[in-house]
């Protein structure tokens, strides 16, 4: 598992709808903020890059210092963004694919307004489990 990883889901309208600090490293508030700043900045790159490829997994698209941003864009243009320092691309890809399935389940909930925050604790638990498995 990566020592530092921050996972975010950003909606089509650029609103973060889910965020999770997945790293096993010591949690510091400053670092968490910095992670969000990096991911926020990467959206600029994603928005251009997403249209250049048909693949959903955009691989590592950005980096700052030692942290790499990997992005997965769903068909609905929801972006899964992972900030990590490992180079395990396959693991990241599997992680994204599994999270995508979870996300689709959330979307199927008729009470969920697409684009609003994902508050499901079940989703959170599953994502963290996936992170332990793949990252």
């Amino acid at each position: 598992m990566a020592s530092t990883a921050c996972f975010m889901i950003v909606s089509r309208t650029d609103i973060p709808i889910y965020e999770a600090e997945l790293g096993s490293a010591l949690k510091k508030e400053d670092a968490a903020q910095q992670h969000q700043f990096i991911l926020h900045a990467s959206l600029d790159i994603v928005q251009d890059l997403a249209w250049t490829t048909s693949a959903m997994f955009l691989k590592a698209i950005d980096r700052f210092n030692d942290l790499v941003v990997s992005v997965y864009v769903t068909a609905g243009h929801t972006r899964f963004m992972l900030l990590h320092d490992s180079r395990n691309e396959d693991g990241v890809k599997c992680f994204f694919q599994e999270v995508h399935e979870l996300y689709i389940k959330i979307l199927l909930n008729p009470l969920y307004l697409p684009g609003s925050r994902i508050a499901s604790s079940h989703f959170d638990t599953k994502v963290r489990a996936l992170a332990r498995k793949y990252l």
Partner: protein
Amino acid sequence: MEPDVSIESMCTIRIAVIPIGQISPSLFREYASLLTVHSKIDLSSISSFYTEHQKSPFTHQPWDSGCLRFKFILGGSPPSPWEDFQSNRKILSVIGIFHCPSSPDLDSVNDQFSIVCKAYNSSLAQKCFGFCPGDEQLKDGNRRQDNLNLFPPADRRTLEMHMHNMMQDIAASLLMEFEKWVLKAESAGTIVKTPLDSQASLSSEEVIKAKKRRLGRAQKTIGDYCLLAGSPVDANAHYNTALELARLTGDFFWYAGALEGSVCALMMDRIGHRDPVLEDEVKYRYNSVIVHYRKSFTQDNSQRVSPVSFELEATLRLARFLCRREQAKDVVELLTNAADGAKSLIDATDRLVLYIEIARLYARLGYERKAAFFSRQVAQLYLQQDNRFAAVSALQVLAISTKAYRVESKASSARDSLPENGPSPVDGGKLNPNSIVSLFESQWSTLQMVVLREILQSAVRAGDPLAAWSAAARLLRSYYPLITPTGQNGLATALTNSAARLPSGTRSADPALPFIRLHSFPISPPEMDIVKRNSGKEDWWAGSAPSGPFIYTPFSKGDTDNNSKQELIWVVGEPVQVLVELANPCGFDLVVDSIYLSVPTGNFDAFPISVTLTSNSSKVIALSGIPTSVGPITVPGCIVHCFGVITEHLFRDVDNLLLGAAQGLVLSDPFRSSGSATLRNVSVPNVSVVSSLPLLVSHVVGGDGAVILYEGEIRDVCISLANAGTVPVEQAHISLSGKNQDAVISIAYENLKSALPLKPGAEITLPVTIRAWQHTTVDFDTAAGRSGGLGRQSKDGTSPMLMIHYAGPLGSNAESTAENTILPPGRRLVVPLNVCVSQGLSFVKARMLSMEIPANVGENLPKPPPLLDNVTESSSGSNRIERLVKKDPYRGTWGLRFLELELSNPTDVVFDISVSVQLENTTNEDNSTDQEPAEYGYPKTTIDRDSSARVLIPLEHFKLPVLDASFFIKEPLVDGTSSGRNSSFSEKHAKAELNACIKNLISRIKVRWESGRNNTGELNIKDAMRAALQTSVMDVLLPDPLTFAFRLARDGLEDDLQSSATEEGSVLAHDMTPMEVLVRNNTKELIKMNLSITCRDVAGENCLEGPNATVLWAGVLSGITLEVPPLQEIKHPFSLYFLVPGEYSLVAGSVINDANEILRARARSDSPTEPIFCQGPPVHVRVCGAP
């Protein structure tokens, strides 16, 4: 690292611009701005200043198209250790600027300037410019031969032209210096060094290597000068040589430098032509440059100097060159690499410059968020430096980044988005979920809070209280749910501290607390209602929108298209109120120093009030003001003076926020504490102000409290109307509304009419007569509970209301174009007639009593009831009945019927009852003077408190004279049968007729009461009477078909004029008494019958027959067959001989043969075969003994 590097910066000549002597910074900037416009001097323009001393080394100088580029460095800069490596880093010229009035001594200026110039030993040309010289100085300056130049005072254009000449001079002298330098370098060779070259003594091997390298480096430097001199072809030639030499000697650093120069030369040569081939070439060469810079990195001197900055600069140069949307991927790659390089930079300033450049390039690419990210990095680096200027810089940089993080101050966002005034997504109440989401697009609350906190921190450090206030306000307002109460308190303190350092009355664009939303626009109180005037109509108020509590009524007309928004009318000079709701969701008590309505249209005087909101509370307050001039008014928000700063709070912002809260998109609903979880959608009406209107105020004379009336009481209420406005009332109309409208008997409308126009201040009194209605217990309770209040209390009560529609004068030009002008609206005054009905006399029950007063047999006949056609008889005055019951025992008998009313008096006062009956005057056809129906009164009956009493109402004079079929069938039958005589008449008709009759009857009976001094009224007992009469109305109204009467026919006289009162009607015993029975047919049909007469004694025994008969008789007494023609009488004579004196009664009875329907109906016989028996009342005969 240097800021603002680009490929072209290789060919710019640096000129230091230095202030000399006393000169204010602003003046220095102004003078310098004259210089900086001349950053490019064409070679063709300097030829006049240029003299070729030797043969120019720049053989390919493009004199016609080339130019020299300058970069002015204000204030100069320290010499760079790398200036040998890149000659464009050298300060090649120094320009001093001085302000003559503050530096009068030119010699000292000259001295100072030369001292300054000494610091720049690379400088090849020096000039010192003086501005605004005095006459003395000018004279002095003209004589001098040094570098001082004075600019006589002139306008800016002239000065710029002078400056242009000066720059051309400088350019020419620099060009000549370059030539000199290049010639010297070519011949003698020059030693150029960089910090990279080790300072340690060189080993022999290295010395040889250095000698070899020197040539290449010299060539590179010459190339640099060629570039600066604006000769790219020459430069390119020298660079090529240098590249060869450097490659041979493995001098990677210089190789990369020469390569960079060659790219610049290439660009210069192809200036203005940009094509993909060139781009690829540049990209290829620069990648090579970057690679070679990287190669030149050696471990041994990495501690001291590093070529990393050159690598990064080269990266940035390439990125800047490529910086276009199409190349975004490459640029991002380059910039990401550059950002990675930041770690290896030793100097913090270098890192700062690097981040600034990266941010600028990202911004140029349109990557706002990336730019904001690096701006924030820059700001953090600034904040690490612990001084005020760094903090100011940090604040400025952060302010730039706020837009990307969407926390920008309203002041800056208003500047940016002023032209676009797009429709807000909440328009019209229709909402698309997506558009709501887009309202909160920026929900990176963590980031936003961090950025705002950093802005606050840097603003505090930079000493910018307004920026600090604004940041704290934004932080508190938007993110209070994420901040602990302690943090909220801290922010509040920060706000107060910042405000303390601001001048009072400072305005900020960013509102802090409280949250304000529109609660409602209260509709004007009913006494000030405004009604649109409908021009050209007599009843101008009709058809105007109802200003009742319902916005939509199903009864309004179908013009819904323009009714989408509520209209509200305010009047100039009349105070109005708007209710707003304030909320303080934070954990501290909030003191709002003043709050008032913000009206940008300017025609409104708002009254400020101050409010204190406790923590986590909300409050609805009324903000008032006075409209000052006619026109539309918009109230978009409030102006709030809170935390020492004045801010404008817009309702729309909070509405959006609440919308988001309802959707779960924003953090929290600040109005949660007010308890209304649902989203309130207050429609903002279109408010318009109209000119002054009259204003009627009303009060009830004798106190505005409810008038307490007993049921049925009639009272005059005087309403005083006064015009409290400034405009006279010219039209007025009174109508009634509400419940119990029929309680108002009369309104003295003429009083009002005659008083028009009612001048301002005038007052009139309007008497209104009210009759109290039926008392209900509920009414009593509510009326008692509310009797103290005014206004609306009776709106939902049972009292009727007077609606007075009134209006001022028409517009001045109304007579010319009546249709087009908009009339000033009218007003409606609703005057509730506050009547509290208390229980009065209560009615217990009513019943019919019938009694028969037996008549005595005398010589007179009872007067037959007047016939309709017998006009002459009934018109005589003596015929009139003067009293209700005229009891004359000798005039025959009547079946009297009484209506007995039982009344009880539960109150604690005494009531006097008087009954009167109104008689229809049958004679009013020919006697027109006698119009008034006769009325007959009874003596008063007094009912004491808590007592009951019965009142008898004789129902006497209602009988119809003739029993007629027309009574039953007044109209032809609906089914069209030609004659309804034999057909059964419709029961429906009969019933309707009956009801009409009963109603008529009832309406003529009035029961009035009096109590105390001035309480009079009328009992409302119609229903009770109707119920009582329902069953026996036939008996009351209809005459019997046959009436019988007995008469003494003693003298054989048939006239009834004899009227001896004493012995009248007495019959002697033992005497043959001739008598007559008169049978009268009251129908219009011939009646055949069997008449029989019986006589009974006191005991009721039949005296005529049986074993002990005491009366002898002569004539026929039974089975007399008679035919009575319609409306005629028949006499039947007979004689009786009484044996025993005493009282006897004679009864005549008859069996009607072949009775028709009417008779049957009258007799209430069911079967058609049943004989109809008709009996007259008994008639008394007193038989006296023999004298």
